[in-house]
Symmetry: C2
Subunit: 152 residues, 2 copies
DNA sequence: TTAAAAATTGGCAGAAACTGCCAGTCAGGT
DNA sequence: ACCTGACTGGCAGTTTCTGCCAATTTTTAA
């Protein structure tokens, strides 16, 4: 991966549906080698895929919640159990394993506060083995981008 | 926005570069009306744009950090100052305004721990007016998707 | 420094996809 | 039943994609 690949990556993050011709222009290549580089990045798994960015509020899910979870036990079985459950919950868009006092942080999307209560009861507590849940609601977005910073 | 639009949205979140013909197939429309719906969703701002999903590690930024920040004062001026600074920092991919004890939560991408130290010193503390910073490192991803849940 | 080998590039042409236009269809209201 | 408005599907000209090959650039080794 050279600097041209990185240029391509950042251009595709800014606009994932740019045509190959425009992309080629932007990175100063002709369409053929440009497309080949894109395909190589895809095959190598560096570009995982493409996605539409959607206004969550307009879609009907205006409430973003960050949920910080601690497990009671950390043996292989309970951890596996928790993680495989989480992966199947559609409302959970992200789940990170964390260092420090908390084990996991989730980003969850719900239609309203009641929806969140339902979510915790029906989806989280039913997993079992959870020591604590700490909830923070996000009520505004200052910044949200997919474009990775330039490497210095 | 009807259920067909929602179908289109979810299909485009799963694959943002699907061709219009395949998309039309998937949602049982012919290409013309399908494309028109997509364009309308774009014009209405419901589809904000399209983006490539990139492997952050392969790109060279393997460390994800969540930073929870409290401000000293919450008057209009200091808040504006903080938020406009944050928007200009490339390493900050997300910044949410939070309820509760913390004012903001940031998602930050850095190459390593040293990079994070530099980031805090050079980018965050220089803003001024910050009461506290709480850092959590993410060292694994259990789930990460852009696809919004179906509305029940 | 030179020469051979490898990787990358650019152009071309057939195939695929996009997109504006128009007539036909369907749903809701009077 | 009729009218209105919104939506649909098909068509055709235009644009874009993409596999192939020769030419160029870069790398490697002598």
């Amino acid at each position: 991966m050279d600097s041209k690949d990185r240029q391509i990556i950042r251009a595709l993050q800014r606009n994932g549906r740019i045509t190959n011709q425009e992309l080629a222009d932007e990175v100063s290549l002709s369409p053929s080698p440009c497309l080949r580089r894109v395909r190589n990045l895809e095959k190598a798994g560096i570009i995982r895929g493409y996605s539409a960015e959607v206004d969550e509020k307009a879609y009907g899910l205006p409430v973003t919640v960050f949920v910080r979870i601690k497990l009671e036990r950390h043996n292989e079985e309970d951890v596996q159990r928790f993680e495989s459950h989480i992966q199947r919950i559609d409302e959970v868009l992200e789940c990170h394993v964390m260092t420090g006092a908390i084990d996991y942080q989730l980003r969850v999307l719900v239609p309203d506060l009641e929806g969140y209560e339902d979510f915790v009861r029906a989806r989280i507590h039913t997993i079992g083995g959870i020591a604590s849940i700490d909830t923070s609601f996000a009520y505004g977005v200052v910044k949200k981008t997919n474009v990775l910073p330039k490497l210095s």
